[in-house]
Symmetry: C2
Subunit: 492 residues, 2 copies
């Protein structure tokens, strides 16, 4: 090496060091603004084994107050993998407002390794790529800064680094058989990584960093991180615009057109109830053994009879295999995250039945009408929810959604009954009366919701509940039909 | 069988059925009161394999609104087992106020099977029994109704039931190899079950139900459940009295006697910091590989320098292996459970370092002084916390607690500095000023806390922090010493 080269290298290295220092100081300076503005930041660090992902994260965080960031390394166990949707651990780990979450590899590695291992089919891989795009867009549109980095090294560089790690007892354990397999299959991995980035870089772009020079890679990552945070702080929290997506939708009637007269006699009801509950109990056994997840969603007017309906479904189920999840107003730690987070984290394990007593549709009903989110937010939610539910059904879940329908007179009669019956008074609140006054606005919102979110995979069912007995039997039949179909599919 | 016998059997069976029905109705009637009074109820159902635990739970819940109860079946995977304290899944599953949680077998089975499998030593088994007693007492004293049932069947009855299950494809999968092993080792199990109940029945009694008659067993369980709930509703929520426990305590000085003059020059500080952080980084590597959990607890006056101290500890740690957990006021779902719940559920996995920025000691400081709990509650907490921390160290955790100490003048100077420095203003709140006015009351509470909760296994360290540099170096040294010792112990 010539003397001038050495000098210029040295100068360059000093310049990188100085710039990194300045960037880190800038990042530290942003901390308070990130917190005050409630900006959530996601940094996904993907890349080759031995490329230095951990070291890179170390460089990024070294001056940040540890109360403002977290690092997550998702270890997907085969057990957990099979029992939850693949995005589950990543969606569960999103940061709350005002914090930074670093993913030390994440959904990209999860997809690429799995497809190369042939743990998932090409078909499943394609579906995953779509889900990843949806997941990232939803986060971005929900105001998250999402920075995706890929740390790149050559096959030779990877070999040298692994050899170095393996030559020392203190570090050898860091190299796994998986990593050695990647070194051998470097070419296939490179192709798949590149194709993955190509297919997932349109909404939230990828940034490939040259990992051969650790200091420069860290500087480049700092530039990106500082730049994006700066931009987000200046521009204010991003709110995504609604967008068109052609989900095949099922036709739904307007609520006003629903005939609420169907009713059952006590005798018919008791006979059917017994028969259907017996059948549902048997099916629960089967879905438990076949590990089919079942998600039942209940929405409906106050006093429509959701609780009693749920009770009739729950009764024949093995209590070890189901959960009823009442959804109330979100608490602080829930409000501080993307609105679907509190549902992601409550998903059932495969083979279990999860009954949501009110759901994520609060977004397009109460949150819309009470102004708890912006118009863009709830307008966007129809698609976001359709995507979320498609992710659930692609995981294998049976997703059924019930709108429990009554008319205004019936509601009034039930409110009065509640008011006049001491044991029932707790069920009636001031808010119920207030909501009742907004019936027309609610009806409009509900009609729009039913039109825009009833999909083949996650259909809505309007349950006529002026007669509660009729409503319960109808719901039981729908659940049974769907489970029978799911069991057949799983056999086929 | 004589005719009279048949008749009397039939009559008895009808009587059991009628009583069960009446009891179930009573239970349904209590639902609203349980909810209104915020009474949390735990029903632990233990017993022999094939004794009918699931069926019993089914009978108990059949008329309860599914929004008011949950059933938990803890499947302890070998992975999870090794990485968390054994009570972790059970403590995490306690119900919130106003709800009933049924444990479909729980900590008893976990202990008995493990000791008979020789997965744990006799010594560990003894420690577990003590932990179980502590856990149950803490729940009871915290106002939980705890009902413990053991469903008993003979060896012959168990054999017949297993044979019946195994003879049908639809049910055969319910019998596991573990169950068959229990059938073979029935005698050893019986002895161990009985001894376990003997040793854990003093605080919260066991109720052994004859499982040979399912209907009667359910009736008996209903009687107990309804009786206990009725009693709790009448008497009002139980608040446990403080009790004496002879924890060996380390002598601690009064805060007023602490010499706050120690200080370091910048030069000494920088030199030591570099050296100690390097060493801590190396040790983190070792504890990660040896899967030693580390829990660092920070408490201290406002503006004492906790944040900066934590940052110096965190800096050399591999970010994938530690978490800083800032503890703020509890949210609703946390207030609705025993006060240690939000810490149980935040414990680190083994091999990870968890830094609590404020801790469970809030109970005997802010909650005591602001009247957020009763005097009995905080008086009891010293022992409860000592027990909790002993459970953590018996699991293998290194538990270190730091009280970051400054004097009033130093606090005032720092408050003023914060007030006058725009970037720091967010750190200073009205509450800080209010707390400052209560310095003498806080000092008294802190002195008492330090006296009563500094144990050999989880000691307090007073960190003189008028000079922050001195404080950081002292803390680093303490952490390093403890980790070196832990690594030696684990080698030994």
């Amino acid at each position: 090496m010539k003397k001038e080269d050495k000098v210029s290298r040295k100068e360059e290295s000093a310049a990188v060091k100085a710039e990194s220092k300045a960037l880190r100081e800038k990042l530290t300076g942003f901390q308070q603004a990130i917190r005050a503005k409630g900006l959530p930041v996601i940094v996904l660090v993907e890349g080759w084994a031995a490329a230095g992902k951990g070291g890179l994260i170390n460089e990024l965080i070294s001056e940040i107050d540890p109360r403002f960031y977290n690092v997550t390394t998702t270890v997907v166990t085969p057990e957990a993998e099979a029992r939850y949707p693949f995005l589950y651990p990543y969606a569960g780990a999103i940061p709350e407002n005002g914090k930074i979450m670093f993913y030390d590899s994440g959904w990209m590695e999860d997809c690429v390794r799995k497809v190369l291992h042939r743990d998932i089919t090409k078909e499943q891989y394609k579906a995953r790529i779509r889900s990843v795009n949806e997941f990232e867009r939803q986060l971005r549109d929900g105001g998250y800064v999402v920075l995706k980095l890929f740390l790149d090294i050559s096959q030779g560089e990877q070999r040298r680094r692994m050899d170095a790690l393996l030559s020392d007892y203190e570090t050898a354990w860091r190299v796994t058989g998986e990593d050695l397999w990647q070194q051998r299959e470097y070419k296939a991995f490179r192709e798949t990584y590149e194709a993955f980035m190509d297919k997932t870089g349109k909404t939230v772009p990828w940034h490939v960093l040259d990992g051969s020079d650790r200091k420069k890679a860290a500087r480049d990552a700092l530039r990106l991180l500082v730049g994006q945070i700066e931009q987000a702080l200046e521009a204010g929290r991003y709110v995504g615009k609604p967008f068109k997506e052609r989900f095949p939708l099922l036709p739904m009637p307007k609520l006003a057109a629903v005939d609420l007269s169907p009713a059952l006699t006590d005798e018919e009801y008791q006979k059917e109830l017994k028969k259907l509950q017996k059948r549902l109990g048997e099916l629960h056994n089967v879905i438990y053994r076949r590990k089919i997840p079942v998600i039942l969603c209940y929405e409906g007017w106050d006093a429509a009879g959701k609780g009693g309906n749920i009770r009739r479904i729950a009764k024949p189920l093995d209590p070890r295999g189901f959960d009823v999840i009442p959804i109330a107003s979100p608490e602080a730690h829930e409000l501080n995250r993307q609105y679907l987070w509190r549902f992601w984290t409550r998903l059932p394990r495969s083979g279990h039945v999860c009954i949501f007593d009110r759901t994520w549709y609060g977004r397009v009903m109460v949150e819309r009408l009470e102004g708890f989110c912006s118009e863009d937010d709830w307008q966007r939610a129809y698609n976001e929810i359709n995507e979320f539910e498609r992710q659930l059904t692609e995981w294998g879940a049976v997703v059924l959604k019930f709108w429990i329908q009554i008319d205004q007179d019936t509601q009034l009669a039930r409110f009065n009954d509640r008011q006049n019956t001491p044991e029932k008074q707790w069920k009636l609140t001031e808010e119920d009366w207030r909501n009742r006054e907004k019936w027309p606005q609610y009806e409009e919102a509900i009609d729009e919701m039913l039109q825009k979110t009833s999909t083949e995979n996650a259909p809505w069912f309007i349950i006529e509940s002026n007669d509660k007995k009729y409503a319960r039997i109808k719901t039981l039949r729908i659940v049974i039909d769907a489970l029978e179909k799911a069991c057949e599919d799983h056999l086929g």
